[in-house]
């Protein structure tokens, strides 16, 4: 059996995705132009990550 993963290994990616999502949700609400663009990028990451790992061949 492999050793259990550390908390950072388990929660690092989920927390990063959560923070990015929050940034994306708020950016377009706080500023036009650059705020909109930031929200597309930040909220786009969870989508890309989902599709990337779903489609990846191990």
């Amino acid at each position: 059996m492999s050793a259990p993963l550390t908390k950072t290994q388990i929660w690092g990616a989920p927390i990063a995705l959560g923070v990015l999502s929050l940034v994306g949700l708020l950016a377009a609400l706080l500023a036009d132009g650059i705020g909109d663009a930031a929200s597309w990028v930040a909220l786009g990451v969870p989508v890309v990550v989902s599709i990337w790992y779903w489609g990846r061949r191990s």
């Binding site: 989920p14 959560g18 705020g35 790992y53």
Partner: protein, 380 residues
Amino acid sequence: MKSASVKSWYLVHKWTSLISTLFLLMLCVTGLPLIFHEEIDHALGYSAEAPAMPEPAPRASLDDIVASAKARRPGDAVQFVFKDAEDPRLWLVRLGEKANSEDASAFYTYDGRTGTYLNEYPVNKGVTNFLLRLHVDMFAGLPGTLFLGLMGLLLVVSLVSGTVLYGPYMQKVQFGTVRRDRSPRLKWLDLHNLLGIATLVWFLVVGFTGVVNTLAVPVFGQWQATELAEMTAPYRSKPPLTEMGSVQKALDAAHAAVPGTELGFMAFPGSDFASPHHFAIFMKGTTPWTSKLLKPVLVDAQTLQVTDTRDLPWYVSTLLISQPLHFGDYGGLPLKVIWGLLDLLSIVVLGSGVYLWVRKRNLSFEAWLRTMQGEKEMAA
């Protein structure tokens, strides 16, 4: 975490999900086209287009627009006037059989520059309207809306408990692992966890703001019963309004009272958001954030004097900020597309949850715990 407490979270996740999933699937499926309702309305020819015109364009008087709308349905009352959210050159006039009728009888679009009548937006017709009614109240009125709010609360609990279970599940599994070669059940469990955790914050925010939106009627009801009643108290014993003054002048007075703002919407005397003697003119700010908030200005409908203006209480502002965060309509078309993709991923999370429940109905919690930690599958 102790196995007993994992088991409690497991049961919370299972039951909150089981009760709410079918309704949430309905909400996600009907919500997907609703994200694009403006584009759909446009494609179906429901919404009008402002004709090209050289700048600087003239500005029509709101009095002429309102008079024309009244002439189209002489028996009805004008309830609200507002500018099109996408194209401020367009004005919309909403009429009802009575000023305070819950349902609209007509929605007319006018060119705000020339005052020309452009078209009638179909009321209670069309596919987006059908989907909207399903999404908002399942054709069951306020009880339906509040019921869906309750399902949204269950979603929030289900997402929180699911996140707690993610920890023990991922003890020995790298982030993003999808074990697709063992069994379909394990593959879909991995996917359920991956997509669930990746979309978690978005789904939480859209779910929670959806719950807040289900409270719109009681929230505005509270404001009407307290602040609006207070602001209009001096008029309570006055005789009914006989002649309404100029709508344009009322709007100008509101602009002068709160400089640096734009019209959000204008409620006519006798309608639900105004008083029998006042126009209630809801002004909005000009920055992305303040444009979501409203400031009511009460204008005496006869003298056209501003009688009171004050900020909305926190609970109405919370509702107003919750709306864009639920609809995803505040960052252009790309944000809508991302909203749609996240919605699709949420449908997969919900659907895989149902599939996993169907597949492991006869499995004990202990057996689930073993597979969850990968031991059984590793040994297989």
